[in-house]
């Protein structure tokens, strides 16, 4: 009970600060996933077209995924220094696999007869990609971005240790205080809420983009 009281006291006294860090945390997560998408979606399309590459690329992605985020961040820090950019690049690395994999699967699952029909009606390869394959695969690709974003919000929390700020900084403050449970919650609960909201919103977009639902 006392913790709940301390929690509400802390939140009401530091609402502005928590909001600033929330926004910062959100931006870092979005940038990381966005840049990862810029690389991974074309990469996914590429390996769907040239299947020989797919094994290698997906294996490389999986290997990156096994490195603990804290360790990766520390190594990247040596090259890039302290601050938000390091956190964003780390998140980008961890987002590459889910997005590439989903793009690959989405592209592979497009019905071959539809592609042949497009081809027969005289579409170029680029037209085929833009008008047939991508629209049919886009909801699966979005599912990958959704996964990446939800994981990413968790990874960015570690960014506090390399001076990136964000909600992780509030959690670390709590671990240093005498009886810091309330402060830890003030950092952890918004992080969880952000991940849930991201999941719900992205899920909604994903459904809207499902072929046959709209358009």
């Amino acid at each position: 009970m006392e913790t709940i009281q301390q929690f509400t006291d802390y939140v009401s006294a530091n609402g502005g600060y928590i909001w600033t860090e929330f926004y910062r945390h959100f931006l870092m997560s979005v940038y990381g996933v966005l840049f990862a998408a810029v690389i991974s979606v074309p990469l996914g399309i590429l390996i769907a077209k040239y299947s020989k590459l797919s094994g290698w690329v997906l294996a490389a992605g999986s290997i990156i995924q096994t490195i603990p985020a804290l360790g990766a961040m520390a190594v990247i820090m040596l090259v890039m220094g302290l601050g938000t950019n390091t956190a964003i690049v780390t998140l980008m690395l961890y987002s590459i696999l889910p997005i590439t994999q989903n793009t690959y699967v989405g592209m592979k699952n497009v019905d071959q007869t539809v592609i042949e029909a497009g081809h027969a009606s005289g579409m170029t390869r680029f037209q085929l990609l833009r008008m047939v394959e991508l629209p049919l695969a886009v909801s699966v690709i979005m599912a990958g971005i959704r996964t990446a974003l939800v994981i990413g919000i968790g990874i960015v929390a570690i960014g506090a240790f390399i001076g990136a700020g964000g909600l992780g900084a509030i959690i670390v403050t709590g671990t240093n205080a005498t009886d810091g449970t309330a402060i830890i919650l003030a950092g952890a609960i918004p992080t969880a809420i952000m991940a849930i909201i991201a999941d719900v919103v992205m899920g909604w977009i994903e459904r809207r983009l499902q072929p046959g639902q709209s358009a």
Partner: protein, 307 residues
Amino acid sequence: MLRRGVKSMLACFLILMLAGCSLPGLAGTSQHTIKIGSLTQSESETMAQMLAIMIERETDAKTELVTKLGSSIVQHQGMQRGDIDISSTRYTGTDIAGALGMEPIKDPEEALQTVKHEFQQRYNQTWAETYGFENSYSIAVTQEFAKENNIETISDLEPYAEDLDFGVDNAWVNRKGDGYDGFKEAYFAFGEVFPMNLGLVYQAAATGNMDVVLAYSSDGRIQEFDLKVLEDDQQFFPPYDASPVINNELLEKYPEIKEITQRLSNEISTEEMQQLNYMADVERINPRKVAKQFLEANNYFEDGGGD
């Protein structure tokens, strides 16, 4: 066409990164942003906030805090890379052993002069005057015990030492130089030594489970649990006086910062820092507010100190 777009976006992104610029919304690292790095401890963040408030008050520069850095070595590397321009708190004892790799120096004044000189020479950084507080190892007893037996210094404990239980931080016991072995040589041995997690030490003393404890001198919990820090009359523990460290390039650009550090020098005693740490660690007040309140109460040290 698609690939060219991707390439150019990637190129833009890389340029952004290499130029050390930030992405929109994540605080500008423009020419006019001064970055202040602080450690995980509250006192480091509080001092960073004080510097930030003072700098924004006195100059047209903006400040940005890089908080929760793991250790003074991280601060040091950040300073050298230019990721941060100011370290909010650096401690003489820590950096003589850490960044400079020298033998411990027991005299506080000599230690301070050494780091000032070496940082200027080796790293082109200015180690400013101390704030006035230190965060060193120290020996503490309950106020009650001190009053009853009239104890002021560590040597005063000697007659009682055999019957006293000594609660210490796990990390300290086996420390070379200023650990327990060194302590026994300089002073005396206690009846029994109980190594434990630092978080438990203060409480153990307050509840009477321990008679004497090893404490960090600026920790707010010394106040919370009503402990008395004893004077280190043999000067056994090396000094850990806190100062800000500033890159010289920044000082050339903003000479006002030198004046700010001079105004803050020797203004905050270890007892005052204990109070500020108490506010942050025990009362859970945000370091920014702690810093602002303290500066307002002292009129931003405009008249050469409000004490």
